[in-house]
Symmetry: C2
Subunit: 435 residues, 2 copies
């Protein structure tokens, strides 16, 4: 006998979990399609050199890679961004720009499993490639907001900054040659606190004055009007206009789309990566800030530079599905209710009625009712237990007499209320009213 | 620069393909949920020994396996059946029997890519574990039929045989010790023809008479009534009753559920694998028989014997999604029509109207209309080209005057019919009528 064990950092998804995950993904896909975004997929396995590029970073140690039967060095994708860049380069001529895509699928990383971190997990990415304009920036932010709203997460704050503006500020301070290091330091301020950030900045800039200036720049001023914030940042950056105008333009459109309450201009957002050049953002749940950002991203000016000469600017975002699910669970979200596998169960009390049960099931299904037929004539307590385990709200009982009249009894299982003399249509209506 | 190449036998899924795949999977999942089946998922990577069991077969050479960073021998799953058996053994105490699950996801095999065969492909499996009775057999067959029907594939023939009946027949002929070999030979008759089958049977049985008897047993008699077929087979098997009664029972229920026209009792169906013990079936498209079976399976008496002592009987089936998609394409199926990414596009003809465009888009989306806003003010011909490439049926134009009146023009793009003086609600209704 072989032990039915599973690899460390990997998980099975049981029905209760899988139903929730599918419901969340369906809801997100529904929103994305309302915005004209199309789905794509890429292989789980790619050439290692294609995924790692020049390599040498932390990622190299974390990926699952090996030699396949043909001796090729292959790897499981560790994110959906790199395969997307490769995809755009390979299919550039088959695609129309602007290209709006989303991609929801698994990625794999060999990092040490921790609480809430796994070696196999889902990512959900969406991007607009082609235009470099505020209209696209706004569309991504709108879609983010409305996607979260469709998951009944309305209390969200999208914190937005502009990397171009921040870089202009660093240039104004004459420390732009250290910008990568400074960006990474600032990115960690929520984790390590103000003091350690200041210390690290001192090391990078060699000047306490400059470090203090950077700290002022990134520290939000309470109750400041967002337009005032943008103006203040622009002044601190030596009167910079291009990026601050863009940020103002974006904010003003979002305001006109009733999103003002959910947008915070927050210069402490930098996103560590070199990659971003325009707006950057993170999204926090007002009711559960400790869980961190559930949706982040930004604007970049060159998606696929590793694989092609054409510059492909874009703006995109990524939702951490596992974190999102954890958040919904921790919030006791009503969105997770009603994750039942069916609407009604036909109790099997007489083997000679089986054909009749099947016909009733079939006709109810034709009306869109999700019907489970209990497949064995077992003790009714076993059947109740099954219905309860599956969270099924209604049951159907059929006696000899009812069968001869083409009727049956519908029972609401929560309070054992019986509805007598039901027929297919009336039962479908009754069930439809309550589920 | 790195070449944006992709591994042999692997494919990207572009929007047009991915939209089709998602539509098919959604439709199948909708049907499965009407029958009370729940989704599950398992990891892509498992311990190699868990996936290969005792090993030694063809599968061993085909799987992608390697040593991970911790030195564990791990492999990508090559089907969804083995992980399901492992899953049942591991979670037996958390699950309620009968357990009805489906699983749609990717599997990987290192076999040499051929036309229509890939190293990464989708499987779609569904099983009922627990009961060993005709009710469950019927439910699987019903669900198969109605799932294919929901894909607008009504011209299907489900060919059913019974392995128990066939084994009784072989026992009656005193050749049951060779049953595995004989089963495999018979399984190939569609591929290799009658003569070569007879030759192989001669080798296995050592008797021309017995081989001829086997051939008679598995050869359908034209226009024979199915009940007569079952009776004839039962007589040939020495008056066997248990399995032929079961088959009769199943057929009669399917007939009462209006499936008689789509069911063929066909003793040539054996399914090569040792694993099956009861009914076995394959499903052919009447309009495209050459493509082979698109949905096959059967009843087994012990799912997880490799991992646990408890016997778990069940009945299940598997849809080859890639073959199914190929079939729908070859049939020019109307099911594949209307795979557009959105219902309407707002043409961007005036940058100063952007906020207004966004508001109209937002309000239409709130009414469930899928709206693409063209994100740049480009030449209108570019915008038309984009709409055409995405197969978008409607466009919206907004002039200064219309904007001031809160109106716009809706154009049906196929014939350039304009609907003037439209507002949000009237446009949503008009679009809803036609898409």
């Amino acid at each position: 006998m072989i032990q039915s064990k599973i690899l460390k950092g990997f998980r099975d998804s049981l029905p209760a979990q899988e139903i929730v995950k599918k419901k969340i993904i369906d809801t997100l896909e529904k929103q994305f399609s309302l915005y004209g975004f199309s789905p794509i997929d890429t292989p789980a396995l790619e050439y290692t050199e294609v995924l790692l590029g020049k390599g040498g970073g932390e990622t190299d140690k974390q990926i699952f890679h090996f030699a396949d039967n043909g001796g090729r060095d292959v790897a499981l994708r560790f994110d959906l961004t790199v395969p997307f860049a490769r995809f755009m380069a390979l299919h550039r001529n088959e695609l129309t720009i602007p290209f709006k895509r989303y991609h929801i699928n698994k990625v794999w990383r060999g990092e040490n499993p921790q609480k809430g971190r796994f070696r196999e997990f889902y990512q959900c990415d969406f991007d607009i490639v082609g235009p470099d304009n505020p209209t696209s920036d706004v569309e991504i932010l709108m879609m983010m907001y409305h996607s979260l709203k469709s998951l009944q997460l309305s209390n969200v704050s999208i914190h937005i900054a502009h990397r171009g503006l921040f870089n202009a500020f660093l240039r104004h301070l004459h420390v732009d040659h250290n910008s990568v290091e400074i960006l990474r330091t600032v990115d960690k301020i929520r984790k390590v606190g103000v003091n350690q950030t200041l210390e690290s900045l001192n090391e990078s800039t060699g000047s306490e004055k400059v470090s203090q200036d950077i700290l002022s720049f990134i520290t939000p001023v309470e109750d400041e009007n967002p337009y005032d914030t943008i103006r203040r940042l622009s002044v601190l950056a030596g009167g910079e206009e291009e990026h601050s105008n863009r940020l103002r333009n974006i904010y003003s459109t979002l305001k006109s789309l009733d999103m003002a309450d959910n947008i915070i201009i927050d210069p402490s957002i930098t996103r560590g990566l070199d990659y971003y050049t325009g707006i950057v953002y993170e999204t926090f749940l007002t009711d559960l800030p400790s869980i961190g950002s559930i949706c982040s991203g930004g604007r970049y000016n060159d998606l696929a530079s590793l694989y092609m000469k054409e510059k492909l600017p874009g703006v995109g975002s990524s939702i951490g599905l596992d974190r999102l699910i954890a958040a919904l669970e921790e919030l006791g979200s009503p969105f997770l209710d009603s994750t039942r596998s069916s609407d009604v169960i036909i109790f099997n009390t007489d083997n000679s009625h089986i054909d009749y049960y099947q016909r009733i099931a079939l006709r109810l299904r034709e009306l869109g009712v999700r019907v489970d037929l209990y497949l064995e004539k077992k003790k009714i307590t076993s059947q109740f237990k099954y219905a309860q385990a599956h969270n099924i709200p209604f049951g159907i009982f059929i006696s000899d007499e009812e069968k001869s009249l083409g009727q049956f009894t519908l029972r609401r299982l929560s309070d054992r209320t019986d509805f007598k003399e039901m027929q297919i249509e009336s039962a479908a209506v009754k069930i439809g009213e309550e589920v």
